[in-house]
Amino acid sequence: MPRGEIVIFDQHCKGCGYCAKFCARDCITHPSGRYSPQGYILPDFSAPDKCNACGICAWMCPDHAIDVYKLVEAEVAA
C-alpha cells in the first residue's frame, strides 16, 4: 500500500530535474516525455507505490512545484 503521494504543479515546474536526482526510491522519472506550456521538460510521478513521503523532492525543488502528502489510515466515522 502506498504511504505517500506527491502532487506536481505543471505550470510552476521549470524542469531542472533535482526531484528525480534526489528521490532515494526512484519514484520520479525525468525526463518523462511531457512538456509544460513554456516548453520545460516535466517530471513524472511514475512509481507511486514506492513513495514513503520523505519530502526530499519538495525540499530540493527550487520552484515549489511539489507538494508531498503522507497517507495515514483514518478511522471511518460510524
Binding site: K14, F22, A53, P62, L71, E73
Partner: protein, 262 residues
C-alpha cells in the same frame, strides 16, 4: 477504510502564491530553496508578521518581493545600512538582509564590514553563486580560481587575485557574533544550512551582535552547466575552495559598544 492526507512538505504559506505566480528565477536556480528555508525558520520561530526583510539588488531582489513579509528595497549594495536604520528605529525583533555575493561582498563591502565593526544587531543572509547573475555572469569576488565567466574568459587567474572568504574574514571582527557558510547541494547540507540560518536569527533575538550566513547556490545559466552538473561542480570545486561550517559562534561580543552617559 478511509485514507487521510497530511501535507508533510511543500511551499511555505508565506510565499504569495495564489495558485499562482511562477517564481521568477532561472531553471535550476537554488535561490528560492534558500528563500524557502528562511520562511520555514521564520514560521518555526513564531516571527510571522514581525520580521522585516531588506533585499539587496540582483537576483535576490525577486525573492522577498513575493514574500508575505514587510520589506524595504534599497540601492545596490546598501542593505546593511538600511537594515541598521530599520533595526534602530522600529526595534523590530528580526531584521535581516537577503543579498547576493556581488551585492554583499563587492559593491556592498563597505556597508557590510562597517555594520560588522559597529556590531549592529542584524542578520545578513548571502546567496553566493560566484558571479553576477542578473547582468550576464561577470566575475564576482567569490569566483573561484580557473572559473570561466564573461569577464574572465580564460578562467580567473593571477591577474584577478584570490576568491573572497567573507565569513572567515568577518569572523575576526569583535562585533560579530556568528558567521557560517552552508550549501544546498544535497539534502544533508540543506538541513545544515537551515540550522545555520536559525542560529543566526537566534543570535539577533538574543542581542548578541552581527551575524552572517553565506549559502552557496547553483547558477546553471551562467555556469553553462546543466542543473545536475552544477551540483557536481559545487561538490567538487566550490566546496573544495569554500569549506562549510561555522566560523564564529559566541553568545556575547567581546567588547560591547559603550553606551554614552546621559
Amino acid at each position: 477504510m478511509a485514507v487521510k492526507k497530511e501535507k508533510v512538505a511543500g511551499g511555505s504559506d508565506l510565499w504569495i502564491r495564489p495558485e499562482f505566480a511562477v517564481i521568477p528565477s532561472c531553471p535550476g536556480c537554488q535561490e528560492p530553496v534558500v528563500g524557502q528555508l528562511i520562511l520555514e525558520v521564520v514560521e518555526e520561530m513564531g516571527l510571522d508578521g514581525e520580521a522585516i526583510v531588506v533585499p539587496g539588488v540582483g537576483c535576490t531582489t525577486f525573492l522577498p518581493v513575493i514574500w508575505n513579509m514587510d520589506a524595504v528595497l534599497t540601492a545596490h549594495g546598501r542593505p546593511c545600512d538600511v537594515a541598521t536604520a530599520v533595526k534602530r528605529v522600529t526595534k523590530a525583533p528580526l531584521v535581516f538582509t537577503v543579498q547576493g555575493d556581488g551585492d554583499c561582498f563587492a559593491i556592498g563591502a563597505g556597508p557590510t564590514v562597517s555594520a560588522a565593526l559597529r556590531g549592529e544587531n542584524i542578520t545578513v543572509i548571502t546567496m553566493s553563486n560566484t558571479n553576477y547573475g542578473t547582468t550576464g555572469g561577470q566575475m564576482s569576488p567569490t569566483t573561484v580560481t580557473g572559473q570561466r565567466t564573461t569577464t574572465t574568459p580564460e578562467g580567473r587567474g593571477e591577474m584577478q587575485g584570490h576568491p573572497a572568504h567573507v565569513p572567515e574574514l568577518l569572523g575576526g571582527i569583535k562585533g560579530v557574533a556568528y558567521t557560517a557558510r552552508g550549501a544546498v547541494n544535497t539534502p544533508a547540507n540543506l538541513q545544515k544550512a537551515k540550522r545555520y540560518i536559525k542560529e543566526a536569527f537566534q543570535k539577533q533575538l538574543d542581542g548578541a551582535g552581527f551575524s552572517l550566513v553565506e549559502i552557496i547556490v547553483a547558477c546553471p545559466p551562467n555556469w553553462h552547466y546543466t542543473p545536475i552538473d552544477c551540483l557536481k561542480f559545487i561538490d567538487e570545486t566550490l566546496l573544495a575552495e569554500f569549506p562549510l561550517g561555522e566560523f564564529k559562534n559566541v553568545d556575547r561580543v567581546e567588547q560591547p559598544i559603550p553606551v554614552p552617559a546621559q
